[in-house]
């Protein structure tokens, strides 16, 4: 669904998590090539259901995406995923620090023996959109960006998940993660999900 089209529905538009203000804030942190591309909604829990559908729809439109979540207290937060979501055959994190390989320090938990397990870039970040807009970039402590399992989606690691969503996209949790150095993004560590959106770029 691309907004502003003829099928624009006011009632449904009220339930869109992405606002102009948030988009403008995020544009400041996104990679430059994405700043001139149009945004299109790939997935929403209103229409598309659960996590498995999110994976499927992201595979149909590969590229970087923005994940937005709103909890029952109205807190809105999410992540910029530098790579399209895809179920990992072997459970591991993807998204890497290839661009800054020399900066990898002893604090990084990934040994040299497994560089092939992670792909992508360190551009992934977590953010909170409401009540305040805050962006939590990669802290370079470890490379646990995204863990896309069939039954859950986890972002950030090295302690607790920065953001974790269940398979039904009904419940989630957020905690401090070493990967992004973020605090709890939601209203509480365990929260009820009201809506999830995934936006892509065309």
């Amino acid at each position: 669904m691309r907004l502003g089209g003829e099928d624009f529905d006011v009632e449904r538009a009220r339930r869109i998590l992405l606002s102009v203000h948030l988009r403008d804030e995020l544009l400041r942190h996104l990679p430059a090539p994405l700043s001139i591309r149009e945004w299109t909604r790939i997935f929403t829990t209103e229409d598309d259901g659960a996590l498995s559908n999110a994976y499927r729809m992201c595979q149909q439109r590969p590229g970087p995406t923005i994940l937005l979540v709103m909890d029952s207290k109205g807190y809105t937060f999410g992540a910029f995923l530098s790579q399209p979501l895809q179920v990992q055959a072997r459970l591991a994190y993807f998204g890497t620090d290839d661009a800054v390989q020399p900066l990898r320090s002893a604090a990084c938990e990934l040994p040299e023996a497994c560089p092939g397990q992670t792909i992508g870039t360190g551009e992934t970040f977590l953010f909170r959109a409401y009540p305040t807009v805050e962006v939590y970039r990669w802290s370079r402590v470890n490379s646990h960006y995204i863990m896309a399992a069939r039954d859950s989606l986890g972002l950030g690691g090295g302690g607790m998940f920065g953001l974790w969503l269940d398979t039904n996209l009904a419940y989630g949790s957020s905690n401090t993660s070493s990967t992004f150095g973020n605090p709890c993004l939601a209203s509480s560590e365990d929260f009820e999900i009201v809506a999830v959106e995934i936006w892509g770029f065309v």
């Binding site: 907004l3 502003g4 538009a13 009220r14 339930r15 869109i16 998590l17 992405l18 606002s19 102009v20 203000h21 988009r23 990679p31 430059a32 090539p33 001139i36 149009e38 945004w39 299109t40 829990t45 209103e46 259901g49 659960a50 709103m70 029952s72 207290k73 109205g74 072997r90 459970l91 591991a92 994190y93 938990e109 990934l110 023996a113 397990q117 992670t118 409401y130 009540p131 470890n142 490379s143 646990h144 863990m147 399992a149 039954d151 986890g154 690691g157 090295g158 302690g159 607790m160 974790w164 269940d166 398979t167 039904n168 009904a170 419940y171 949790s173 560590e189 365990d190 999900i193 009201v194």
Partner: protein
């Protein structure tokens, strides 16, 4: 409903630990879903939550009241970026595009020149003595073109790394027909 125990690098330390933790968490959440919303379809559950959020007035301060995203804004921004001022000045993007366009035109001119040269040499190669010369010229032409491409790539890498995904030069007519030198 607590998130799983400390996450580790699953590919090197203990793959089973993260998998186990994730599954345990999922099971825990599913149990919680069953407890809190027994036999409630997910769609209805979400609808109730939407209503609760709206009723609580969270939306008044939250993102729901903010103007919804308008794709035309992005188009406007794109227009701004492409816009060239009357005095010839423009943003960094415009300057880079202009430079790339000039470089591409120069490359096309070089290629055309080399093609004509090759054609001339081919015509001259009617006599066997010119064959070797013609082949050498063609090789030289290809080499020059390769060097031109390399220099353009190097220039792009140096000056336009952030624009490469966004700016893609259309193929020339020659390339579109699948031809080379």
């Amino acid at each position: 409903m607590r998130p799983p125990i400390a996450m580790v690098c699953t590919c090197c330390r203990s793959p089973s630990e993260a998998r186990m933790a994730s599954r345990l968490h999922a099971l825990e959440v599913r149990a919680s879903v069953r407890r809190s919303a027994v036999a409630t379809p997910l769609r209805e559950l979400r609808e109730e939550r939407w209503k609760a959020v709206a009723k609580a007035g969270v939306a008044k301060a939250g993102p729901l009241v903010a103007p919804a995203f308008d794709a035309t804004k992005t188009s406007e921004r794109r227009t701004e970026l492409h816009e060239i001022n009357e005095d010839g000045s423009g943003g960094e993007f415009n300057a880079d595009v202009s430079r790339m366009r000039r470089a591409a035109l120069r490359l096309i001119a070089v290629r055309t020149h080399l093609s004509r040269l090759s054609l001339t040499l081919s015509r001259l190669s009617l006599s066997p003595s010119f064959s070797a010369l013609s082949l050498s010229a063609l090789s030289f032409g290809s080499l020059s073109l390769t060097l031109s491409r390399l220099s353009l790539s190097a220039w792009q890498t140096k000056h336009c790394t952030h624009l490469r995904p966004a700016v893609r030069l259309p193929p020339t007519g020659h390339e579109a027909r699948g031809g080379g030198l």
